[in-house]
């Protein structure tokens, strides 16, 4: 259990998330039962105390203390919230009624200035009402009405002229979409937000860095749920600025980058870069997954890699982003772990095979966390699908790799290959240079 909690990043991640976004993480923890139930419930109440989801907080309180009574301050807060809701609703009412009328919305055009003028002239909706819409949307979000908030925020953005406000509206929209699990829309919002963060000349580089880190944390929700997220996360996180941000202030994100790279077969070229980063940061962040790569590609310590692989299982199973379960009848499985294991095996096998000419299969099976027969089948498959240049020697139950050394002649050809190209380039440029001289 202690080991488990060591690997738990929830507390580190939570600092970079919105309150509402922490909620799913807590749910997951509760489900995995890593921590005592009471603690999680308390954390939930703590979390909710700053939001307006008072009823929900009351419910949790009841289940936590097994009472039917809701503490007085919660009741008071509830009344206050309701009152506030009323007043905000009133303030934003004209605009909302306008927006709810589809025919009227048709009149809006792409030109913001025109829209504002029109609203002001024809419907007496001024900046105050628009501001009220924002407050109302925010309040809705706080209350847990995410879909409403998302709608209002969307409309607010079409009307708003203040870029700071617009940015926070965008953050709100992203959070709402994530919480509603509309991954496609969320991804769109994410990209929009990223563009703004990267393009906008932020007042302070520090603020920009912070925004990037937030964005990366929020994006974890999307990338590990969206179908194309595996590529997305690599694309995003391996951009120089984002990689720098990780190295500066969010080392724990390396876990997710590493996992994404291991799982993604098509992005193997990133591995080298990743290993470099991991090596640089090994003193500031350690995690079985990064250590696995370290063992394999820096220290060539295969026993260590095997040990780490076992730990990886625990980590992945208990990570809110990675350990997503798929229920298949009575069977529940974590698809990501299976992929991870398969790829990790391939990694080990590849590296191992590269430096050996004869390997005992039993030994190999052990390294790959398989039993011998399974390993034999697995290798057989690899050989058959001609991914592997090797033969199995059943008599000594060993695998014999075919050495693939570069032929001397091939080497020479390789060396001489670019000569002709270089020469022709040179000849061409010399000719070009002398031409004007000749004509002169």
């Amino acid at each position: 259990m202690a080991l488990l909690q060591n690997f738990d990043l929830t507390s580190r991640i939570a600092t970079h998330l919105d309150r509402h976004l922490v909620f799913p993480l807590l749910e997951f923890l509760q489900e995995r039962q890593q921590y005592p139930d009471d603690e999680i419930l308390k954390a939930k109440i703590e979390l909710l105390s700053e939001t307006n989801m008072v009823d929900y907080a009351g419910d949790i309180h009841k289940s936590l203390y097994h009472t039917e009574e809701v503490p007085k301050e919660m009741l008071e807060r509830r009344a206050e919230v309701v009152m506030r809701l009323r007043s905000l609703e009133d303030a934003a009412a004209p605009l909302i009624s306008f927006l709810q009328n589809a025919a009227l919305v048709q009149e809006l055009r792409a030109d913001k200035q025109y829209n504002l003028m029109m609203l002001n002239d024809r419907y007496q909706i001024g900046p105050d009402q628009i501001e009220a819409l924002y407050q109302y949307a925010k309040f809705q979000f706080e209350c847990g009405n995410y879909s409403g908030a998302a709608d209002y925020l969307y409309q607010y953005r079409t009307l708003c002229t203040n870029s700071d406000r617009s940015l926070s509206a965008l953050w709100g929209k992203l959070a709402a979409e994530i919480l509603m699990q509309n991954w496609d829309t969320a991804l769109e919002e994410l990209n929009r937000l990223k563009e703004i963060i990267d393009s906008k000349n932020f007042a302070s580089p520090l603020g920009q860095l912070q925004s990037r880190i937030w964005l990366m944390h929020w994006s974890l929700f999307i990338f590990f749920n969206h179908e194309n997220g595996r590529n997305g996360i690599i694309d995003l996180f391996f951009q120089d600025r984002y990689l720098n941000a990780i190295q500066t202030n969010a080392h724990h994100l390396l876990r997710y980058v590493a996992t994404a790279v291991i799982v993604n077969k098509r992005r193997r070229n990133m591995l080298k870069e990743l290993v470099k980063v991991i090596q640089q940061e090994q003193c500031s962040f350690k995690d079985p997954i990064t250590e696995f790569l370290e063992c394999l590609y820096i220290n060539y310590d295969f026993d260590g890699a095997q040990k780490k692989l076992r730990e990886c299982e625990i980590v992945i199973m208990n990570d809110p982003f990675l350990g997503k379960r798929v229920e298949d009848g009575a069977f529940s499985s974590v698809p990501l772990w299976e992929e991870f294991l398969e790829n990790a095996r391939l990694f080990i096998f590849e590296t191992y095979g590269r430096i050996h000419q004869r390997i005992h299969i039993g030994m190999l099976a052990e390294k790959l966390l398989m039993d011998e027969d399974e390993a034999k089948r697995w290798i057989m498959n690899l050989v058959r699908s001609s991914k592997l240049d090797a033969k199995i020697d059943l008599a000594s139950s060993s695998l014999i790799m075919t050495p693939n050394h570069l032929n001397v002649y091939e080497q020479i050809i390789e060396n001489a290959k670019n000569l002709s190209m270089r020469t022709s380039v040179l000849a061409k440029s010399v000719l070009e240079f002398s031409q004007p001289v000749g004509t002169r």
Binding site: T248, C283, S284, N299, Y300, D301, D303, T351, R354, I355, H356, Q357, R358, I359, H360, M363, S396, S398, M401, P403, H405, V408, Y409, Q411, I412, N415, A416, L419, R422, T423, L426, S429, V430, F433, S434, P436, V437, R440
Partner: protein
């Protein structure tokens, strides 16, 4: 009595007196009366003090008498020499008496020379005039005598100028002077002896200032000198008679007067400080006091005029005290604003303590603090580090830290964060290089000081004068209680101390301050073995990119930080990192210079005196030095660990990948020796170790390395050495495998492990890594635990084919380079030469530019011919290997035909053909000139 005294006391005393009368609006009579008053006052308040002075008088008197007797003896000698007209011995005597004068001046108050001396001068002058007038006698003189006479004439003329006044006075009434001398001195001693010690360097009245128009100033100056030297008496005359009579105006006037003569030739610097210090006591308002205090401080800085010397230590201490006083005042009167941007109004400081609005006073606390720190630093630079004085000086560090801390606090409260961060930087710079032990020692010292009333007895002697002065003086009008804490506050760990300051500076400092702080931070982290943190700081700040454009001392700081980072990496066992940090320091062979820890003599070019001076000014004080022996050991060992296996890799292109040129050169030199003696210094040790390592003899290598004495400077010597030994084993294994791979078919893991005393898994990892990196053509046979080598020895044909492709590659490359040269890339890049003197190749850039210039003026055609000339040179030079630049020049001069320089010459002259022999000889000179200038640039 008084008036009589005054007429005799100084040469221009009459003038003074009258001057003074005019100024202070009080008659002579009043002065006399008040003098009596003071005496009473003094007796009443400070009876013990006057006893003190009595005691002191006796001592001083005997010393003085001795000196005067000596002088009298010399005078006799002079007299004799004059009589026999012996100018050689006269000259000697004159030098002697001058020396004695210095000594005498030290004992007695030096404001006027003793009459004996003046008498000697007068005698000399007279006899000189006589001798010169007597042309006959002059001719008769021996040559040496005549020479002496002439030089005497010069000397005397120069010397007497200083004493002109006295001499004329003496000439007027030699007798009375002599008669009264004694009793005058008696008098003087009664009151003045206290101050004599301090007033040794009193300025002589300046002749030039006596010119018209200056007279007034001169007069007052003299008056003030007098006043300070006999302070008590003057004090009552001017101020003590009745405090109520002293007005702001009087003080202000005096103050302005003193300031007016500041920096003038002949103004006594110490004098001024004394005068101003006195004024601070009689200042009427806090603002005025502050104003004067600032001038005191600047005057104290003025005491040492030269850039290289340092401020006298006791003055420095007083200066710190003054600064603290300033802070006290500021603390008490929050309405006073110190500012150096606006010139305050005339009467600004007249506003009293009860004035509510803001009062502006001109001054700059930050620069004062910075100056103080600089002076402290300079004093440590100058003092011999092996003396007790050096150690003592270090004890003053907390004093400065208190001040800096207080100033910083004050500025922060005021909202001047920029200034505060500058002060904070100074504090950081005093602490950053201290390991925890030293820091603790400093902290303890500071605490002890707080207990023991801050001053230790050893120094009481120096400061006694100051002390008594304070006691003697009247109670200052503006009393300032000590508000500001006099004890520095130090957190437990130096890291905390640094952190608090650093984060403040990062927030508010300007670019340079931040950069310096960052470097200090890196240094500090490195000392505390936090390599990763230090490295990240360095990389994130991008300091290495911009450091070339920073000032010298920041560059030195950068070098120091890099050196320390390298040491830190080595302690952590990160050999490549350590090497990366240190190699640059060692490439030029100028480590000492780069770290500012001594001057290294360069064989190749002499430094100008200015350069040397500049260098000396930037030297680090001894206690901040990084041990060079340790640094060298670390650098060479890490170079060895990287380079030896690298040399063993016998792949065809290994020659190009040299990791450490310095190391290779050293090793070559070492190997060239016919007999190798036992290792003596660090370098010998490492070289011997490297040779052992090349043979895979890790044991001997490790022994040699660990036998170095310099390791004892490391805190955790054992663990570092253990790491080093492990690294040596690894590298020995790698070297062994690379060297002997060809001789083995297979090797068993166990056997290899036994050979190198390594454990199996680790060994496996090391060998695996080599296989993966394709350094070693081999693979594992897992069931038997063997390394199987697949060495394919290339056949002769294959080897030749390899060579051929290599050559072709070089050819293609040289073609490209030639093309580049033609299009303006620099003709010097021709490969044959480049290879020959790759070591000192460096003029390429300059040469290229030159070539550019010539190209601009030539048409394309001649450009081509020039190029072909260059080509020819390339062909000729290829055979001979490297041509040094001088040889090129002589070649052109001798041959005259088709040389490289010829081609170039043609370039420069456009189309004009170069054919005749005369042209050729002209060419020679011009070519040589180009060469010279270029090598100078290189």
């Amino acid at each position: 009595m008084a008036s009589r005294f005054w007429t005799q006391g100084g040469s221009d005393s009459e003038e003074e007196e009258s001057d003074y009368e005019g100024e202070s609006d009080s008659g002579l009579g009043a002065g006399e009366g008040s003098r009596a008053q003071t005496n009473r006052y003094l007796k009443g308040t400070n009876a013990s003090d006057s006893e003190d002075s009595d005691g002191q008088r006796r001592v001083v008197r005997s010393a003085r008498d001795k000196r005067l007797d000596e002088m009298a003896a010399t005078l006799d000698q002079i007299r004799n020499a004059i009589n026999i007209n012996d100018w050689v011995s006269l000259q000697e005597s004159f030098d002697k008496i001058n020396k004695q004068l210095e000594k005498v001046a030290r004992v007695i108050e030096g404001d006027r020379p003793p009459n004996l001396y003046i008498k000697a001068l007068v005698m000399l002058e007279d006899s000189l005039a006589e001798a010169l007038a007597n042309k006959e006698a002059k001719k008769k003189m021996s040559s040496s005598n005549a020479k002496a006479l002439n030089s005497m004439k010069q000397k005397l003329k120069k010397n007497n100028k200083q004493f002109e006044d006295y001499i004329t006075k003496y000439r007027e009434k030699p007798e009375s002077e002599e008669e009264d001398e004694e009793d005058k001195e008696e008098e003087e001693e009664e009151e003045g002896s206290e101050f004599e010690e301090d007033l040794t360097r009193i300025a002589k009245p300046d002749d030039e200032e006596e010119e018209e128009g200056e007279e007034e100033g001169e007069g007052t100056e003299g008056g003030w000198e007098k006043k300070t030297s006999k302070k008590d008496r003057l004090m009552d005359k001017q101020f003590m008679k009745d405090p109520s009579e002293i007005t702001w105006d009087i003080v202000d006037k005096k103050f302005k007067e003193i300031l007016a003569v500041r920096g003038r030739k002949g103004t006594g610097r110490i004098e001024q400080v004394e005068q101003l210090t006195f004024l601070t006591k009689v200042a009427k308002t806090p603002a005025q006091k502050l104003e004067i205090l600032f001038s005191v401080i600047s005057a104290q800085f003025d005491i040492n005029p030269s850039l290289s010397g340092h401020m006298p230590i006791n003055v420095w201490k007083k200066c710190v005290d003054n600064m603290l006083l300033v802070l006290d005042i500021l603390e008490q009167n929050p309405n006073i604003l110190v500012d150096d941007s606006v010139e305050p109004e005339e009467k600004e400081s007249q506003k009293g303590a009860d004035f509510k609005g803001t009062i502006r006073v001109w001054g700059n606390l930050v620069s004062f603090v910075e100056r103080l720190d600089t002076e402290f630093f300079k004093s440590l630079q100058c003092i011999d580090p092996h003396t007790n004085e050096y150690v003592k000086r270090h004890r003053d560090e907390p004093m400065f830290l208190v001040l800096a801390q207080n100033v910083q606090g004050y500025l922060e409260r005021l909202g001047d964060f920029k200034g505060a961060s500058r002060v904070a930087l100074r504090r950081v710079e005093l602490v950053y290089y201290k390991p925890q032990e030293v820091y603790d020692a400093m902290r303890k010292l500071a605490e002890q000081r707080a207990d023991a009333e801050e001053r230790d007895d050893g120094e009481a002697g120096d400061e006694g004068v100051v002390f008594e002065e304070e006691i003697r003086g009247p109670p200052p009008f503006v009393a300032v209680p000590e508000v500001v804490p006099r004890v520095p506050f130090f957190p437990e760990s130096s890291r905390d101390f640094m952190d608090s300051l650093i984060s403040f500076i990062y927030e508010h400092g300007d670019e340079r301050t931040k950069a310096r702080t960052m470097l200090c931070d890196i240094y500090h982290h490195s000392i505390f073995d936090q390599f990763a943190v230090a490295r990240d700081l360095l990389l994130m700040s991008h300091l290495q990119d911009g450091v070339q454009h920073m000032d010298r001392s920041t560059q030195i700081l950068f070098n120091r930080a890099m050196a320390q980072l390298g040491l830190c990496a080595f302690r952590a066992g990160l050999v490549p990192e350590s090497f990366g940090c240190l190699s640059e320091l060692y490439t030029g062979g100028r480590v000492k210079e780069l770290l500012a820890q001594g001057v290294s003599q360069s064989r190749y070019h002499e430094k100008t005196p200015e350069q040397e001076k500049l260098e000396r000014r930037n030297q680090m004080p001894f206690h901040m030095h990084i041990n060079l022996e340790l640094l060298e050991a670390v650098h060479l060992i890490s170079a060895m660990l990287l380079e030896v296996p690298n040399m063993a890799v016998n792949s065809p292109d290994s020659r190009r990948r040299v990791i450490s040129k310095t190391f290779r050169r050293l090793l070559e030199v070492n190997e060239r020796q016919t007999f190798t003696g036992p290792p003596e210094n660090v370098r010998d040790h490492v070289m011997a170790a490297a040779r052992a390592l090349t043979h895979g003899d890790f044991r001997r290598c490790a022994d040699l390395v660990s036998s170095l004495g310099t390791w004892k400077l490391l805190r955790d010597q054992e663990s570092v050495l253990a790491v080093v030994e492990a690294k040596i084993k690894d590298e020995a294994l790698r070297t062994f495998l690379l060297t002997y791979a060809g001789s083995y078919e297979s090797l068993s893991l166990d056997r290899l492990a036994a050979m190198f005393e390594l454990d199996g898994p680790h060994m496996h990892a090391v060998v695996s890594k080599m296989m993966v990196n394709e350094e070693l053509q081999a693979s594992w046979d897992q069931p038997t635990g063997c390394i199987v080598f697949h060495n394919v020895e290339p056949s002769r044909l294959q080897a030749l084919a390899f060579q051929l492709t290599d050559k072709l590659g070089i050819l293609a490359e040289s073609n490209e380079r030639a093309y580049e040269a033609k299009t303006g890339g620099g003709l010097d890049g021709l490969p044959p030469r480049r290879r020959g003197d790759a070591q000192d190749y460096g003029g390429g850039g300059g040469g290229g530019k030159w070539q550019d210039g010539s190209f601009a003026s030539t048409a394309g055609k001649s450009g081509r011919s020039g190029y072909s000339g260059g080509g020819r040179y390339g062909g000729g030079g290829g055979g001979g290997g490297g041509f040094s630049r001088d040889r090129q020049a002589s070649r052109v001069g001798g041959g005259g035909g088709g040389g490289y320089q010829g081609g170039r010459y043609q370039d420069a002259y456009g189309r004009s053909p170069y054919q005749t022999a005369t042209r050729g000889s002209q060419l020679e000179t011009s070519a040589r000139m180009v060469n010279l200038s270029r090598s100078a640039r290189a």
